[in-house]
């Protein structure tokens, strides 16, 4: 089965909602991160070690992502929690020398040891699969291995990185030689729009990379949400998601300056299983009024009250329903099932659009992901 890992949130409800989801078998664990969790409690946010212990007590796995790639974003400014981890002896984001890399890694692994989470090697922000970024990444992961901590690793790149074609494949060949057993793949986007502006080549690159790495490792698609489904079809074992927008997407704008310490806006739009996307609550409610049986089938259940937690739980149910079956079948069957699911979603969008009288948003939610998946399928000869 495909698993769900809940990404971190700047709200103070991570432990309570995540443990509820884990207890209800809707999720398997949590990926805390250095931008959303604090090393020590500040009264509003609990100390991360206490949070990690409570999640583990509920039976969940816990990872700590150092978010090194996000610290390197030029507009990154929201360091109110990040700075509590003290991950840089010098300038934040500087990995230009072997000494800087080793010292950063030492602090990252020390933080993870304090949390009793598995060592997770960080990633710089890769803008291209060759050149300086790629060299630094390989140096970083090589240093992590020499420190005995390269069983799990993050690989974070911009959409241009993931769209790198044969250069990306060559780079993945190089990183695959490190024999990592757990990968956290991340697309770092410029904007936080949902749905993101997915590109065919980027989706296909993420699929090919997932397929390659999944042959010898478990692959998690961080902040993947609905956009992770093609990668799940290509072999990913888990999807990162949550209740806030910043748990569903990793975007440069989300690390910019923020005026307060709350978690930002709730994502209130309910997810609709048959559409593989989010819609306005008023729109799905209208469909329930007009054609309850079809709306129930499309939504996958009765329309819940307008509460963030119920929207979140429903979203987990939707992801599990779509991604779950993919996890128990082989590569080509996964691909074909997901392609069929996208085909069905396209038809459903047209019906929803005409029933409710709204624009058909399949061109945003379905087309780019479907094309990326098909692109991957062609490279496999399917």
């Amino acid at each position: 089965m495909t698993e769900i890992l809940i990404e971190d949130t700047a709200r103070n409800n991570l432990v309570s909602w995540a443990t509820d989801a884990i207890s209800a078998k809707r999720a398997e664990g949590v990926v805390m991160n250095a931008f959303c969790s604090r090393r020590d409690s500040n009264g509003y946010k609990p100390a991360s070690r206490a949070a990690a212990d409570r999640i583990r007590l509920a039976g969940g796995e816990v990872w700590f992502m150092p978010m090194t790639y996000a610290a390197q974003i030029s507009g990154a400014a929201d360091f109110q929690h990040y700075s509590t981890w003290d991950l840089w002896p010098g300038r934040v984001g500087d990995l230009s020398t072997a000494d800087a890399r080793e010292k950063h890694l030492t602090r990252v692994f020390d933080a993870q040891a304090d949390l009793e989470t598995p060592p997770l090697s960080p990633s710089n922000l890769l803008h291209a699969p060759s050149g300086a970024d790629a060299s630094i990444y390989l140096d970083l992961i090589s240093a992590a291995r020499s420190m005995g901590n390269a069983r799990a690793a993050v690989l974070a790149g911009t959409p241009a990185f993931w769209a790198g074609g044969a250069e990306l494949d060559a780079f993945v060949g190089a990183v695959a030689e490190f024999d990592i057993s757990q990968w956290f793949l991340t697309v770092s986007r410029p904007l936080s729009d949902l749905p993101p502006t997915w590109g065919e080549a980027e989706v296909a690159g993420l699929c090919r990379t997932t397929r390659s790495l999944s042959e010898g490792a478990s692959v998690h698609i961080s902040f993947g949400d609905f956009g992770a489904l093609p990668a799940v079809a290509a072999g990913a074992a888990s999807i990162g998601t949550g209740w806030d927008g910043r748990q569903k997407i990793s975007a440069e704008t989300l690390f910019g300056p923020r005026p307060d310490s709350d978690g930002g806006q709730w994502l209130k739009r309910p997810s609709v299983q048959g559409l593989l996307g989010y819609v306005a609550r008023t729109d799905i409610a209208r469909m329930f009024q007009q054609d309850r049986p079809r709306a129930t089938a499309l939504f996958a259940g009765a329309l819940h009250p307008d509460q963030p937690k119920q929207s979140f739980n429903h979203h987990l149910d939707v992801l599990n329903a779509v991604a779950g079956p993919l996890g128990s079948i082989r590569y080509e069957a996964r691909y074909r099932l997901m392609a069929t699911t996208y085909g069905s979603a396209r038809i459903a969008w047209a019906q929803f659009s005409s029933t409710v009288g709204v624009a058909d948003a399949s061109r945003y939610w379905i087309d780019p992901l479907e094309r990326g998946l098909a692109n991957y399928g062609r490279t496999e000869g399917w």
């Binding site: 699969p129 060759s130 050149g131 790629a134 060299s135 390989l138 044969a166 250069e167 494949d169 060559a170 780079f171 993945v172 060949g173 190089a174 990183v175 695959a176 030689e177 024999d179 090919r208 397929r211 390659s212 790495l213 042959e215 010898g216 490279t379």
Partner: protein, 279 residues
């Protein structure tokens, strides 16, 4: 700088060998057949022209690597690296003499699967010794694979120095021989040849032995070849050799996969697969 007769004479004297004949004379390296106490060896003398200190370092690395490996499928080194005193500018060492033929001389007709499997298995076994030491051969070609008289195969000439000096083609800064390189040879470091690039090159040799053709044709202009290499336009083994078992075709699809991470990632993994496949 060409290796001089004085430098060859110095090497023979220091190593106590007598010259039997010349095997190869390159611009920066000469290879001689020599004898010591009735046994034959290969003497290699490399020019150190003074401006290229790395030539000595690479020679030292190659000798150290070979000295560290004990495998019937990797040529053995039989002496330490000696560096000539000034005014000479050369380094020399002795290697095991491999009787038999370079496989280039044997590629004129289609081989049976059993013989090809033996070659690939033994090459993979030898390369695995290098991969265990984080060394990538990077220039596997029919010129540096030898079939001994007893039918066993051995890899020769590991190490960047030798390949850089003797290769007919250098692509993207990496050593390589036209027709016998992987798509990664086109990439700038750090995405250049890696362990699974060696696996790809074993696949090239296997493909050629079975079909007498290269999997990525090397005819036409150099640019055309590079374009085919970049696209990884692999020939169809199934069409060339429909008599082979589908499991053999499947193995070659994996060995020659355009995406390096989809191949066997270590020569030992390829060797295991070949052992499992059988004749």
């Amino acid at each position: 700088m060409v290796v001089s007769a004085d430098e060859v004479a110095w090497a023979c004297s220091e190593l106590g060998v007598s010259e039997v004949g010349s095997l190869q004379d390159g611009t920066q390296k000469t290879v001689r057949l020599v004898e010591l106490d009735g046994a034959r060896y290969v003497l290699k003398v490399v020019s150190l022209d003074g401006s290229e200190i790395s030539a000595q370092e690479r020679a030292a690395r190659e000798v150290a690597l070979l000295a560290d490996i004990s495998s019937p499928h990797v040529v053995g080194v039989r002496s330490p690296l000696l560096v000539a005193p000034r005014p000479l500018a050369a380094a020399a060492w002795l290697e095991e003499y491999l009787d038999g033929h370079d496989v280039r001389e044997l590629f004129g007709t289609q081989w049976g699967w059993a013989e090809t499997r033996q070659m690939m298995l033994q090459l993979a076994t030898g390369l695995a010794q290098m991969h265990d030491r984080n060394v990538v051969h990077r220039d596997l070609s029919p010129n540096n694979v030898r079939r001994r008289v007893d039918g066993t195969y051995a890899v020769m000439d590991p190490g960047y120095a030798y390949h850089e000096l003797l290769s007919r083609l250098t692509i993207g800064g990496h050593p390589g021989t036209l027709g016998y390189v992987s798509p990664e040879h086109l990439r700038a470091l750090p995405n250049g040849p890696i362990r699974c690039s060696d696996v790809f090159c074993v696949g090239i040799l296997g493909f050629e032995s079975l079909t007498t053709k290269l999997p990525i044709l090397a005819n036409g202009t150099g640019d055309e070849y590079l374009q085919r290499l970049a696209r990884c336009d692999i020939g169809d083994l199934g069409a060339e050799r429909p008599d082979l078992d589908p499991t053999v075709h499947a193995l070659f699809r994996r060995v020659l996969h355009p995406q390096p991470a989809r191949r066997f990632r270590h020569a030992r993994d390829l060797a295991r697969a070949l052992e499992d496949l059988g004749d």
